[in-house]
Structures are given as C-alpha cells and as structure tokens.
Amino acid sequence: MDVPGDYKKLQEEGLYKIGADVPSITYKEIGKRGIKRIDGYEKASGKAVYTRDIQFPGMLYARVLKSPYARAKIKKMDTTKAEALPGVRAIIRYDDPEIKGRQLNGSYFGPEWVCPDLAGWALKPIHPVLGDEAWYEGQPIGATVAADSEEIAVEALKLIDIEWEQLPFILDQEEAITPGAPVLRPGAENNILEDPRSRIEKGDVEKGFQEADKIIEFKAKRRAHLWAGAELPSVVVRWRGENLEMWVHSQQPYHQKMLLAEWLGIPMNKITVHVPYQGCSFGGRGNPANNSENGMNILASLLAKRTAKPVKFVYDRSETFFGESGDMMVTHFKVGAKNDGTITAVHIKNIFAVYMCTPGVEHLIDNTKIPNLLCESIVADVSIGPAWWCRCEQLPNCFCLTLIFDHVAAELGLDPTEVALKNDGCDGKDTSFLSKYKREHGFPERDSLKECIEAGKKAIGWDEKWHPPGTRRLPNGKMHGMAFTWDHQWDDVRGTGSAAVMIENDGSVSIIAQHADIGVNPWTTYCQIVADELGVRLEEVNVKPFELDSGFAMMSPDGSCNLVSNGNVVRKAAQKAKRMLLELAATKFENAQPQDLDIKDSIVYVKASPEKQMSIKEVVAKAMPMFDSCVFWTEAPVIAWAWHTQGLWGEAIETGRPRLCRQAHFIEVEVDTDTGLVEVTKVVNVNDVGKAISPETVEGQMYGGTYMGVGRALTEEMIWDKQTGVLLNRNLLDYKYATMLDAGPIETIVVETGMGHGPYGTTGIGENTATVIPALLGPAVYNAIGKWVDEYPITPDKVLKALGKA
C-alpha cells in the first residue's frame, strides 16, 4: 500500500519551530496604523448578529430550574401543574430516562473522563447535567422546560412543586478545612479536594531563607469576581432529522461539538455549528463552557428533540453569576531577600476556595532567577460554584508576583523597579541564561524588562514622583500613591488551528475557517498577514468565519494565544496559495517559471521584466471550484490550507521557549483618608509584544484590561449571605464594574523587541493587563497611606480599617 506523503508533510509543516522568526516579506499592512477594522461597520451599525439575535418561526424558549439553596436535595418534585400550563411544550425532569444519572463529564478521552481543560471544575467530584442535589445556590437542578415564550417558561418553573431537604453548607475555605466542619461531598473524609498541583517545588527554600538578610512574611486574601460578559450564555438548537444544527455563544465551538456529539451519542459529522459574533467571553464562554459548566447545549438539544422544534436557551443575567475567578485565595507568603533586593527564597501557602490549577508560583518560575521556590496549596470544597476561566487562570500568578515584589521593595526601602531588574531571569537562572538563549536562537539581544521599565518610568514621571509610603498629601487633602509591577504575557506557546486561503476567480481572497470573534480584532489581523504574504491589497482579503462546517477552525481563546497560532496558520496557507497562484500564472506568461514571478499590489509580474504584468483576476479567471463549463475549459481552483500547532501549555523551560518579552505597569492613585475611597488617577501599561501587527488592537487590550482590572481591584466582588449561602448581588447594579469615569488617563506603550515565539516575533497580548492591575492597587494604596490593605477588592471599609478608623 502506498503511504500517502501529504499527511506527514502537513504534520511536519504544522509543528512550531523554536527560534527567532525572520520574515521573508516586506511589511506593508503588518504593523500599520489606521487600518479599518474588518468587523467595525457591522458592530457599529448594529448589523453584527449574536446568538441571542437568532430566531426561527415556531421557536421555543428553554429555561432551567436553579437551586434556591446553597446545598440542598430534592426529596419530591411534582411537575403536573407546570405541564398543564398553556404554552409549555416539554419538561425534562432529572429522573427522566434520557438524563437520569448522566454527567456533564466528557472529553476526547471518553465519557467518563472529566475534560482536563476544566481545571477547577474537574476537581469537583460529580457534575450531573440535571441532578437532584445542588452544591451551590443557583446550580441547575431538577427540571428544564421549553415553552412558547420565555415568560411561560419562567412561569412553568414557578409552578413546579418541590420538597427540598436543605443541607449544611460552607462558604469560606478556611472554615471548610477546620476539623469538625461538615463534609460536603458524600463519602469523603474532609473538604480537601485532590489537586495534582498541590505542591510545586524548585530548589531548597530553607537554604534560601538562611542566605537571606531579611525574612518578610505577610498574608493576603482575594475575594471572588467573575467574567460577567456582555452577551448572556446562549444557544439555539434545531434538529433536521438525524442532523443537529446549533448556533452557539462559545469561544471554542469545535470543542463544544466534540462534547455534544459524545454526550448525545451521535457522530460529529451530523452536527452543524454556526458561530455568530461573540459578546465578550474572557474565557467565560471558553472551552466547553456551555457543555460542561451548565449543560445548556445538552438540555437545549434534548428539548428540541422532544418537541421537534427549534429551541433557544438564554440565561438571564442573574443566572450568569457562577464560574468564579480562580483566585479566591487566602495566601501566606514567606520571602527571603538580600539587602540589595535579590530574592533568595519564596514560600507560598495557599488555601483556595475555587481554583483553576495555577497556584501562583508559575510566573516566579518563568520570569525570575529566584532559585528556591515552594508553593503549597490546599483546595477546599465549599458551597459555591466552581471556578472558571475569567481573564484568566493566571490571576493567582499575577497576584503573588506583584505582592511579593512590592512587599520586598517596601520592606527593604528599595525602588520596586530595581528589585524587578535585580531578579529578572528564568527558572532560577539569571538574565545571562536568557542572553545566551537569544544568541543561540537568532533573537535580538535586547533587555525587554529594562526597556519596558524605562519607557514606563518616563511616561508616569516615576523618578520625580516616587516617594516613601504615606508621605505625600496632595493639595486636595488626599494621599498620593504609586506602584509598579511587572510580568510577562502568556502565552505564545500553545494552541492549534487550521485555515484555508482561496483566490476567488475574480481575484479577491478569502480566508476560510471558523473563528469565534470575542472582540480582539483578530480577523483584520489575519487579513493583514495574508495581504502581505500574498502581495495583494488589504481590501481584497476577507474572512467570514461563522461556520464550523467550513472544515477549518482557528484557535480561539483569543488575545493571548490566538495570534501566535492563527498568525502562523494564515501565513502558511497564504504562502502555499501564493506558490499555487504563481504556478498557474507561469502557464500564462511566455517562457516563465513560477520562481521567475512575484506579486505586488495584486499584480503578478516577471521579476526580471516588471513591465510584464497580469492581474490576479486574469490569472485565476478560469480557476474555480465549480462551473457549468460548456463554453470553456476550467482550471483547478487556487486554494491551499495549513495547520499549525504552537505546542503545549507548560513552564518556560518545559516548552523549550523561555519567555523573553516582559511588561511593566505603573499606577497612580489618590486615597481619601476620611472616606477610604481609592481613585485611580493614572495608569501606564508597557507591553513588549514582540511585534504589533495591529498597534491599535494591542493598545485596546491594554486600556481595556486596565479598566477591567480597576473594577476587580476596587469594586467587583461576589457577596454571599453568610446565613443562607445565597449570592446577594446577582446583577450589574450591585456587582459593579468600572465605568468610563472610574479610571484616570491610561497611557499605553507598545515595545517591539521581536523576541516573541509567535509569527514575526509576536507574543500574546490581552489576558493579563486585567490580571496584573488588581494586585497592583494594593501596593499603590500602601504607598499612599503607609499601611497594607491585604484583602481584595480594596473597598473603602478595608482602607479605613487599615488606617485604624473602622
């Protein structure tokens, strides 16, 4: 049997390469400012369609019952009255055969597996799609209904008679691990969840503490917040015989399709997934959220099957308050440092309530030369919803890194920017290791952290304004504070995607693949890359990535990883398409070989005699996927596809790609010592993004993340009632995120060292500004008032308490 060569070639071509990316093209569109967003008009004019906007004649509306108690069991449930309500078309109960005992679990490894991507969720032992027992208030439980309208569906749920058995609950993680606390999981000995990352160790911390001049110990607590995206979780499902069609609000629809097919027991090729625009996601609609987090896709599919009608399932706002940030942590820090700011050892002890398997030490490994690290974590089972992605799972890392560095600087009386530079490195090795790596792999030998710090200090006026804690009262009577932190942007080392580039026979260019847009302007960026790689004008490239049935799907958690994967995907596809195009063109020029030709501004020309030209349109006029060719011979279409994998999640050293790009963030605050109110008056974000393909997009991720971060730092908090375990602020009036007036000017500085591992030297942007800023507010408040507020968010009551006024 002949071994086909194409597959192996595809696999080899698709694998990431370690080393600096030296582009073979001249940039025309890449890196240019002022490029019109490809999605801009649709979004501004209200024409962009989101899942909630999808409607069909005869469509039914689904709702699901939610547990009113923090921990409770259904003893008896009677749905008779609900079923009799006019307009109710189906009710599926927890004890109905198609759902009884069925779990949300499921993965590419089989139905019994919990998908490894579920991280914090996976730590929980049971995940019924619709069970009779709830372990947090608001959990889907008992019954789901499809009705002619949302009002009828809601009314029907109210008519369900339930006899509840309320069970003891625990909200606080420290309380949960206290001996004698009620055990929440049946059959378990205590409330400690098994966590593969409960102990991470590098070097010997005890040795490191002995080498230190000073030991610094402190405690910090972070309360839960959540993604709270603009568009509500939603799905529309209809069956066409054995084929299922789905419109879904999801970052990773291919993943959703895999899981739904497995759960329903139907082949994947019978599921069609349409992916409209996405009203935010930030991980909240990430990975298999609609499947594994709340079972919406499954319930909608079952209801649509029973009723033989299209079913739309949209959560209301109050129902979206689950899937907390993975940084609900109480942490004890012990840090050893020399007088010059060199950190010799860090011991982190966490108690998590909800968790995303990043305990907080990873960025110290990836970013610093600190040789001795120990991170011990306990993950406590509590009666609140499990953690989920929430821009993002790195929250504990940014929290820990910022607090450690700023506490060290404060205790030693050093400038925090100096402490950062002193400890920059990777996996316990200093910057000479990074310099050697850069030399050996063709990267420019630039000091990213130094460049970022210098740019940021200048922008905020650091040298003029930085002062010892609690020493600068402003003329308005408020205390002035400022702070600095640093980090690296994950992640440029993971993800897989595929796409095709097709030259339509009018010469226009289509990028063909599904991609879930969550707002970071990826589509324009892909078009810029394809335009430059092909040599065509930007306005001739388009992408309409709404259909998974296109056969190709690009990587999307957006922002941090999409460009490094998908940039490579579209670049490779464009390069292949260009080769094909030149092969076809060579047949149309006299005595020409493909290598004799090139393309510029959508014109194919002979390199040696540029006056010999032909438009792309002329070249491909007969190259088409179909034609009723009774009047002329057609030619094969020019379409090429590529696949790229950027590797696996992992620490820098594990991946063989130490993070070379750094970033620096500076903040200024004013603290009113009478009211405790903290105002953010200025922020400077400096990001070394390697290479900015679309500078405005990069900046958008910085100021956008800053606003989210300011909300998380000062006002965003989920508040549960201690007496009942009920979440008290399930709405956007009481769960407060930042408005336009809640932060002063934000200055964004883009540094481009070309030291990213992505295409053209890019690294990610997007996730971490929102993740870094919350922790940074603590040191800024300390600098203002001279007292640490060690509990986040930093609300006025906590500031007053720190000042001894409350």
Binding site: R37, S45, A230, E231, G279, I518, Y703, T739, A743
Partner: protein, 197 residues
C-alpha cells in the same frame, strides 16, 4: 392582581374605558355616547414611528420596548446586556431622549417616535465611521448602545466638551473596556457633523 382581573372580567367600554356590570348596560352606553365616534383602536394597539417609518402594532402589556424592537420587529442592533437598566446597551432615542428600552413597557410608548441604531446607521451619521476609525469597540455587543446615547447627546448639543461626552456615556457599560476611545470618536463625529452641515 386580583383587583385587576376583576376589572378585566367586567365590561369595559372600548371607547372611553368606563366599566359596566353587564353587556346590556355597555351596549346602551356605546349607542348613546359613541354612536358617531370613529371605531376605537383594538386594545393593546400602539402607533409608533420607528426610524421614520409608521407602525401599528398589537402589543401585550408585559412586553418591553426592547422585546418589541428586538424580538418582534427584528431590529437586533438594540442589545440586551444587563437585563435591568444598568448598562445602556438597549438604549433607543424616544422623542429625542435616550431611553432604556429594557425598562420601558412597549404599551406605554403609543404615539412615540423612536430611533434605533439601524436608523442612525441608515442615515450615515458620522458617529458610525468615527467609531470604526477609533476602534471604539471590541466585541461590539455594547457598541450600538453607546452610539445611540452619543447621537442623543449630539442632537441636543452639537458642541459638547470631552467631559460632557464622558458624562453622557458614563451610564453605558463596556466589559471590554473600550472607554478611552469613545470621547475621541464622539468629538470627531461632532466635528464632521459641523463640516457636513
């Protein structure tokens, strides 16, 4: 609720809403008082002008204006985000004022003139181009609400200061944090409006 139902179960004059206890009394009243009046509108019918076009619509009393515009008329540019008047995404201009369509009952809007994002875009208002140019959007879900609010501001005050723009838009939430771009876009649109005018 009970009281309302009892009123509804009685005999209501379709012309003047006077309540009667039996059909005969109602009949007599109609013949006597309304004999020469034009036929009354059916209950639940409202007349609206939306983006310059007249509508006669039968609405149920619990429908919000958002539901009517988005679900029933298919003008899906008006977005539901917070569900309770906290975010401004469902803003439409009613009789010259920005209103939250999720907090407004459709049945109360009889006789109103309403402008939605679709109408603003169709009129080629310079806000649209300015928003695109300044990347005053990311996921785009809240964008129409911002633009409608900004349009209402510019209708009222064609020369706002940047501070006034920020103030006017401060009730609109954007989870992506596009805030710094909006004043830039609105100020530029204001300039372009003046040039155009």
């Amino acid at each position: 609720m009970k009281e309302e139902q009892s009123v509804l179960s009685k005999y209501l004059c379709p012309y003047c809403s006077e309540v009667f206890h039996d059909r005969e009394s109602l009949k007599k009243h109609v013949v006597r008082k309304h004999r020469s009046d034009p036929l009354p509108s059916p209950q639940g019918m409202i007349r609206l002008t939306i983006n310059g076009q007249p509508y006669e619509l039968m609405v149920e009393p619990q429908w919000t204006l958002y539901y009517l515009i988005h679900d029933k008329l298919g003008l899906t540019g008006t977005k539901m985000f917070c569900d309770r008047g906290a975010c401004g995404s469902c803003t439409v201009i009613m009789n010259g004022r920005p209103v939250l369509s999720c907090m407004t009952l459709a049945i109360e809007c009889d006789g109103s003139s309403i402008e939605t994002i679709e109408g603003i875009a169709a009129s080629k208002h310079p806000l649209i181009d300015a928003y695109v140019k300044h990347h005053a959007m990311q996921c785009g879900y809240c964008t129409p609400g911002f633009i409608v609010t900004a349009k209402a501001l510019l209708d009222k005050d064609p020369n706002p200061t940047e501070e006034q723009v920020r103030e006017a838009l401060s009730g609109n939430l954007c989870r992506c944090g596009t805030y710094p771009q909006h004043p830039k876009a609105v100020m530029e649109a204001a300039e372009n409006l003046k040039k155009g005018g």
